[in-house]
Amino acid sequence: MAVKYQKSAGLTDNALTYCPGCTHGIVHKLVGECLVELGLLPDTIGIASVGCSVFSYDFFNCDMQQAPHGRACAVATGIKRVLPDNIIFTYQGDGDLASIGIAETIHAANRGENITVIFVNNAIYGMTGGQMAPTSLIGQKTTTSPFGRVLQQHGSPIKVSEMFATIDGVAYLERVTVTTPKHIRNAKKAIKKAFQYQQEKRGFTMVEILSTCPVNWGIKPVDSLKWLEEHMIPVFPLKLFKDTGEFHE
């Protein structure tokens, strides 16, 4: 019997800890598949950040380090500089990357650190129970913005990819989502390209993935996909921000 579908060898047999309907799981699968297809698992060291993906060191089937909240890109820099031929990636939420870790992320990008950042933007702090993130939308109700995010008080949702597109050290940067099979295929292409560029030592690569948090949004999983498309994509348009193009020896 031909195998039509199976779990990626890029993931361990440990059961994922994500809530039902959460798209973190899809992103894991795509990262795992890309590492397998590129034959990179034996060379890869992943960095788990602090957030719902904190346990991802148990999920990716490669060497892993767990970083303090926001420091994943500093940890990745430390490893990459001593192991320049290995593949280093971070897996970070929007609280981790865009709030507490924005400095570490910007400077890693600006140094052109040859690492890949998988940036999961779900517009909320999932792990700690649904507080406002720097990426939360105007009007979005969270446990710390019970009246909705207010522009004058909280500022507008921070657009990380738009900002990073201005940084010279960035070799590849795309915002994608995983709400439909088509989007998932596109997201996989982006992740694969990011890892390929790292193999070619071209600099900092990042894929921002718009993701759902049905539990803390208080929206059913399927409706969450719709909510993401209707509310997040207009604020965070899907776009290829930077691609340094074909590699020339």
């Binding site: 361990t12 698992l41 034996p42 060379d43 890869t44 060291i45 960095i47 788990a48 904190v54 346990f55 060191y57 148990d58 089937n61 490669c62 060497d63 892993m64 380090q65 767990q66 970083a67 303090p68 420091r71 500093a74 940890v75 990745a76 820099t77 430390g78 490893i79 500089r81 001593v82 192991l83 290995n86 400095a103 570490e104 910007i106 400077h107």
Partner: protein, 355 residues
């Protein structure tokens, strides 16, 4: 091998290299800038890693990453910078990673000043990171001793899988002394770093570097394992020097730059007919409690002296355990005590004790 004249901070950099340092990650701060400046040239010329990080927070996390990858790595900083590294130090101890941290103390609190101080004794020995952890802290007195300890510190860190901190002050960092770089260090059996995350092709199975233990029983077990390790450190790595203890009427406790000043004061006091001994802790954690057993039972008192307002004093009081009267003398804020001030401190102490 002939001796060479070296500035303290540069000697620290070179000694680290001699100790096998593969990578340096740091952020500028006075009075330790000569360490990164020296290494920014040396490391690149020798095909090793030097990174000026965007902050001390980033630097210590780069150390975490590279140490986890199995390399010999270090950072250096001064008081406010070491404050920022505390989060990372806690994670490094939790994940049981080896590294070297050089702390060149200046006056505090806050931005404080840039002159030499010992006001970061608590910061070094108690730390500000979360959890039940210890950093192994050595406080050398001369540039030669600094070099010898730094050369050995990577071995000690690797052996225990724990950070080693070398604690000096701005004076030691800035002064020049003639030194021998080739003194041999103790040989230790160092197990291979089969836990390092350097890619699965280099070891069997998956290696994970983490300080997370969500199950409280597992976390307690992990902490008990750390405590057992710390007991070994206390047993094997406690270091101190005792001087002139046999006929001592008084004993001074001093470390680092302060002990250099006290050595001169002992001479002056001897001429005045007052016999004073010196306990010089070299390891601050573990604090050398055994040294206090060498104190003659008939002494009149112990004077703790520091370039701070009484931090090591806590450990002296614990070690003394109420046995002898304990006095204190200290200057702070970057004020370096004169020899004469220490002499007067003993004379004043004499009056209070005899009364």
């Amino acid at each position: 091998m002939p001796k060479v004249l070296m500035k303290g901070n540069e000697a620290i950099g070179l000694a680290a290299v001699l100790g096998g340092c593969d990578a340096f990650y740091g952020y500028p701060i006075t009075p330790q800038n000569e360490i990164p400046e020296y290494l920014s040239k040396y490391m690149i010329e020798h095909n090793k890693v030097f990174v000026q990080a965007e902050s001390e927070v980033a630097a210590i996390n780069m150390v975490y990453g590279a140490a986890g990858a199995g390399k010999r790595v270090m950072t250096s900083s001064s008081s406010p910078g070491i404050a920022l590294k505390q989060e990372g130090i806690s994670y490094i101890t939790g994940a049981e990673l080896p590294c070297l941290i050089v702390s060149v103390m200046r006056g505090g609190p806050g931005l404080g000043g840039i002159q030499p101080s010992q006001a970061d004794y608590y910061q070094a020995t108690r730390g500000g990171g979360n959890g039940d952890y210890h950093v192994i802290v050595f406080a050398p007195e001369t540039i030669q001793e600094t070099i010898d300890i730094i050369k050995e510190s990577f071995d000690i860190a690797d052996y225990y899988r724990n950070p080693v901190m070398v604690l000096v002050d701005g004076l030691l960092g800035q002064m020049m002394e003639s030194v021998d770089l080739n003194k041999p260090i103790k040989k230790r059996f160092l197990p291979p770093k089969d836990w390092a995350t350097n890619g699965m092709k280099n070891h069997s199975g998956r290696n994970v570097v983490s300080s997370l233990n969500i199950d409280p029983q597992k976390l307690e077990n992990h902490n008990l394992k750390l405590q057992a390790k710390y007991q070994n450190v206390i047993k094997n790595e406690t270091r101190f020097e005792c001087i002139n203890m046999e006929k001592a009427e008084y004993v001074i406790v001093a470390y680092g730059t302060m002990s250099r000043i006290v050595r001169s004061a002992l001479e002056v006091l001897k001429e005045k007919g007052i016999n004073v001994g010196l306990i010089r802790p070299i390891s601050l954690w573990p604090f050398p409690k055994e040294a206090f057993k060498q104190i003659p039972s008939n002494i009149k008192g112990i004077l703790c002296t520091e370039m701070s307002l009484g931090q090591m004093l806590d450990d002296v009081l614990i070690a003394n355990n109420g046995k002898h009267p304990v006095g204190f003398f200290g200057r702070t804020g970057g004020m370096i005590p004169e020899v004469e001030e220490v002499v007067r401190a003993i004379e004043r102490f004499q009056e209070t004790v005899v009364k």
